[in-house]
Every structure is written in structure tokens, then in C-alpha cells.
């Protein structure tokens, strides 16, 4: 049952060194505040999972939190590269990271399998590509009904899934709307779930394409207004595209990244993050 905690306490209680952590949110509702809190608490050797590592994992990789990354698309969309991710993969800075690489369709199948209590997901995918050879987590499987060859990918069951939602109610049920990506699957696949929210409301009112996840599936709720910024929260604030464009410059060299890390993460309280 969901407890309403501060973000610091939620991360302290549920994210351990060496944990497997999925932080989802596709362009929309990316839990940036939680990423900063993990960095601030100095978590190490995490296996982080996310379809699009994006700025949030670029920051965590650069800050040295990550031992392994499982992903399907590692860029700064519309802008270019993830500079810290590239520095880790190309040059081993701040240390080497292991990567496990999939396609979006494969990652979606893996989360669905994890949420469904199945050992693997099945799809028509990867055939004829070099991705197959690079990964021990892409295998061919034979359909027992048609005899057809298909692709199997293992379930994802993170120790902790962290997402950002627009609202929770006072009982810790959550509601999100707009683009939800694989958030729901990542919640149901996880052993523990932390949700940061824009607002805690008395009662939900219906919204376009909303989904509700009951509090029985959530361990901790943390109120974090603007907790997705510079990603966005539909109904609250828009994506700060200028911050994504600026990130490219900040992350380009190690020194300016470290300066940013000290100034914008390590030396401040989370509530001052967006100021």
C-alpha cells in the first residue's frame, strides 16, 4: 500500500546500491527529480533500464551511478547525441558501463512479459539484424501451434520502477494522462514502485486518455511539483525544449558537466531544482 513520503525518504528506502531500476516516461512524465535524488544520495552500481535513456540517464551515467544500461534508443531527440552516454561507451568515463541493447518493440514486449508474470515476451522482431548477435537476450523460438519461428526476449522485472504521474489521491492511487509509454507495464513488472506526482488531489476528475493505477501496486508516493521538468506534464507545464538544446552544450565536455552536477544537483535541495 502506498505511503506518502518525501522523495529523499522514498529513494532512501527503496533504491539500493546494485539495484535494478527502471525509470520510465516517454518524452512525457520523465521522473527527473527522482534521478537527481538518486545522484544526490550517491547510489552506485545500478542497472538502469529505460527505453530512451534521454537526459535523465545521461546525467546518472555521468555522475557515476550506473554499472549497466538496458535500453533501445540513446539520443537527445531532435538535438543529437547523449554526450555522457557516449563518453562512457566510447571512452569509459567516468567508468566503463555494460550495455544491453534492444529495439523499442522488444523492450515493450519485455515489460509486458514482466508485468504479466511470464518469463519471456514474444514478437516478430530483430530478424536479419546484427542486434541478435550482440545480445544474449534475443533468441529464436518456435511456435508450437504453427511451427513458425518467432523472437523471444526475457521479461524485465526491476527491483524498483520509478515513474512520474500528474496526480495521486490521498489514498495513493495515481492518475496519469497524455503519453504514458510503458509506465503501466513498468509498474506492474516491478518489485517496488515509487511514483512522484505533480499534485495530490481529493478526487480524480476524468481526463483525455487517463489511466489509473491503484495504490496496492505502489510503495511510495512523493509530491514533486515540476518533478518531470525539463520533460513535461500534460495539464501542468510544457516540455522545456530549450533545456534539452542547452543540455547538449553542458554535457559536451566533462568539466562543464561536473560544474553543472555540483551546482544543479549536489549542492541544492530538490525543491530548488527548477529555480
Amino acid at each position: 500500500m502506498a505511503e506518502i513520503l518525501s522523495l529523499a525518504d522514498a529513494v532512501e528506502s527503496h533504491v539500493r546500491d546494485g539495484s535494478t531500476v527502471a525509470m520510465e516516461g516517454f518524452t512525457h512524465l520523465i521522473p527527473h527529480a527522482a534521478g537527481h535524488e538518486i545522484i544526490r544520495q550517491g547510489r552506485r552500481n545500478l542497472h538502469v533500464i529505460r527505453m530512451t535513456p534521454d537526459m535523465i540517464y545521461d546525467q546518472m551515467i555521468g555522475a557515476g551511478c550506473v554499472a549497466k544500461l538496458t535500453f533501445s534508443w540513446g539520443g537527445n531527440p531532435g538535438v543529437g547525441s547523449l554526450q555522457r552516454f557516449r563518453d562512457a561507451v566510447e571512452n569509459g568515463w567516468p567508468h566503463k558501463i555494460e550495455i544491453e541493447e534492444h529495439s523499442h518493440a522488444g523492450m515493450a514486449a519485455r515489460y509486458v512479459a514482466g508485468a504479466s508474470g511470464l518469463p519471456f515476451g514474444v514478437l516478430r522482431g530483430y530478424a536479419g539484424t546484427d542486434l541478435v548477435e550482440q545480445s544474449s537476450s534475443i533468441k529464436t523460438i518456435n511456435c508450437p501451434f504453427t511451427g513458425e519461428d518467432l523472437t523471444a526476449v526475457p521479461a524485465i522485472n526491476p527491483d524498483v520502477t520509478i515513474i512520474h504521474a500528474q496526480q495521486s489521491d490521498k489514498l495513493g492511487n495515481i492518475m496519469m494522462w497524455g503519453i504514458t509509454g510503458v509506465a503501466k507495464e513498468a509498474v506492474f513488472a516491478a518489485k517496488k514502485v515509487i511514483v512522484t506526482v505533480e499534485e495530490i488531489v481529493d478526487r480524480f476528475s476524468p481526463k483525455f486518455n487517463s489511466i489509473i493505477i491503484p495504490n496496492t501496486q505502489i510503495n511510495a508516493i512523493a509530491l514533486e511539483p515540476k518533478g518531470a521538468w525539463p520533460s513535461y506534464a500534460s495539464g501542468y507545464y510544457e516540455r522545456d525544449n530549450s533545456a534539452y538544446i542547452a543540455w547538449d552544450e553542458i554535457a559536451k565536455d566533462r568539466e562543464s558537466f561536473l560544474k553543472w552536477l555540483e551546482l544543479k544537483v549536489m549542492s541544492i535541495k530538490n525543491s530548488d531544482r527548477n529555480k
Binding site: 534508443w73 557516449r86 522488444g106 515493450a108 509509454g181 500534460s234 516540455r239
Partner: protein, 256 residues
């Protein structure tokens, strides 16, 4: 320059040429960048009923400005519906409901296999690490046809791609069937120099159109393999001023 003829940039002619191949009422799965600009432009030009799907989950979206990212609020706010990603990839793409997939790439070979994973000799120590597959692998596998938009240089048009992220025609006829890919594969490659299409027999990419003012020697020099040129080589129609006005107006709405 020819007197009275409008001038255009490489990016503009690629975008307009790509937009023109989309038909009204097609269902199109769109990647970010020029593919997205071209698809939105097609809706503003000749294909108002083009049904656009982005991997973020936005279905039948009608954006009024260019999104920077594939999941911008602009795409969600102007969509008929927004669905989860398993639904996008399973129900829409894998099941064969998409007519045209629109992709970019870093490298392409003569059989339109594309690389968006890394540049270099080895996966484990890449010279340049690229973003990876994203939705492209299964878009290339499952759409009825795929259009690829890429600049034509010896760096992008290579004899062998460093990594096959998304399969075109593999090593030629029979490869897609052998790999059980159900989509039709690449139908056109649109570049800053013209258009290439797979030869109906050999499936090798063949230059079938050059943009106005482009010489065939330029296309040959900018291709990293011995380029096949169609005996019926044609010239793409020059962009009209009204088309250029539309693409410029659209690009001016971008945050970048």
C-alpha cells in the same frame, strides 16, 4: 541560377520530395527529423487525411507545429487518441496495419540495410556511438513499404554498413523471406541528390531520379559502391514556390 527559378536547400528538397510520396489516406509511422517534417508537410499539401502514428503512442495526430521530440505535447494534444507503447508496436505495427514507414539513418548499403547503432570497427569500442534501434528495426520489418531519407555521401552510402540495425533487403532476393519479415521493405531512398529505388529483379538500389541541377556524376561520386543508374533516369519536379513557402513556414515553428 536560372532566372526566376526559386532556390532551395538540400534539406528542403529532401523534405518536399519525401512528402510527395505519401498518399492521402495512407497510414504512416513516422520517425523524428526530416521524416516527421515531410509527413506533416504532406498533410498541409496534398494529403490532409494522412493518418500519422508516432511511436510515442499518438494515433492519427495532426500537429500544428514541428515537434522537437517524438513525444512532444504537440503530438498528443492533436491526436485522435494516445495509446501505450505495447499497443503501438503490437496492434498497429506488428499486425501489418501501417502502409508506409518513414526512417532516417546514419549509413545505408546497396540493399538498403541501415545502421543507426555505431560507426567504427567494433561494437565494444565504437568510434562513434549512435542512438541505436528505437522503433526502426520493426518499422523496417513490418510496414507495407519503407521510405528512407538520408544524405548521399561516401560516408553514408557505404559498401558495408558497420552494423545492420534495421534490415532492408539483406544480401538480395530471398533475404527478407528467409528472415520471415512480412513487410515489403524499402521502396524508395530519398537523398539530397535524388531518389533511389530497388531494382525489381536484383533489389539493388538504383538511382531513378536526380533533383534538378544534379549531374549523374555527382551521384556516382557520392556513393561508396558502384552505383547502378536507371536507363530511364528522370528528374524530380522542381519545388514550387508555394511548396517552399509551406516547408519554410513549418520549419519556422520548430523550437530548434
Amino acid at each position: 541560377m536560372v532566372a526566376g527559378r526559386p532556390e532551395w536547400s538540400d534539406e528542403e528538397i529532401m523534405t518536399i520530395t519525401a512528402a510527395k510520396i505519401l498518399k492521402d489516406k495512407d497510414t504512416c509511422f513516422v520517425g523524428i527529423g526530416i521524416p516527421s517534417t515531410a509527413a506533416i508537410l504532406a498533410k498541409a499539401m496534398h494529403a490532409p487525411n494522412l493518418f500519422l502514428i508516432y511511436e510515442s503512442g499518438t494515433v492519427n495526430t495532426n500537429p500544428q507545429k514541428l515537434p522537437l521530440s517524438i513525444g512532444d505535447g504537440e503530438l498528443a494534444n492533436h491526436a485522435l487518441t494516445v495509446v501505450g507503447m505495447p499497443e503501438i508496436f503490437n496492434y498497429w505495427l506488428q499486425s501489418g496495419r501501417i502502409d508506409v514507414g518513414f526512417l532516417g539513418a546514419a549509413q545505408i548499403d546497396r540493399f538498403a540495410n541501415i545502421n543507426t547503432t555505431f560507426i567504427g570497427q567494433s561494437y565494444d569500442s565504437p568510434k562513434v556511438r549512435l542512438p541505436g534501434a528505437g522503433g526502426a528495426t520493426e518499422i523496417a520489418a513490418s510496414c507495407k513499404e519503407v521510405a528512407i531519407i538520408i544524405r548521399q555521401t561516401t560516408r553514408t552510402f557505404v559498401e558495408h554498413v558497420d552494423f545492420i540495425t534495421s534490415m532492408g533487403f539483406g544480401s538480395g532476393p530471398g533475404s527478407r523471406e528467409k528472415n520471415r519479415l512480412r513487410g515489403g521493405g524499402p521502396s524508395r531512398v530519398i537523398t539530397d541528390l535524388g531518389i533511389l529505388e530497388p531494382d525489381p529483379e536484383t533489389l539493388e538500389l538504383t538511382m531513378t531520379y536526380l533533383h534538378p541541377g544534379v549531374e549523374v556524376s555527382q551521384a556516382i561520386e557520392n556513393t561508396g559502391w558502384k552505383l547502378k543508374v536507371s536507363p530511364n533516369l528522370k528528374t524530380t519536379k522542381a519545388p514550387e514556390q508555394s511548396e517552399l513557402d509551406k516547408v519554410r513556414a513549418l520549419v519556422s515553428t520548430s523550437d530548434k
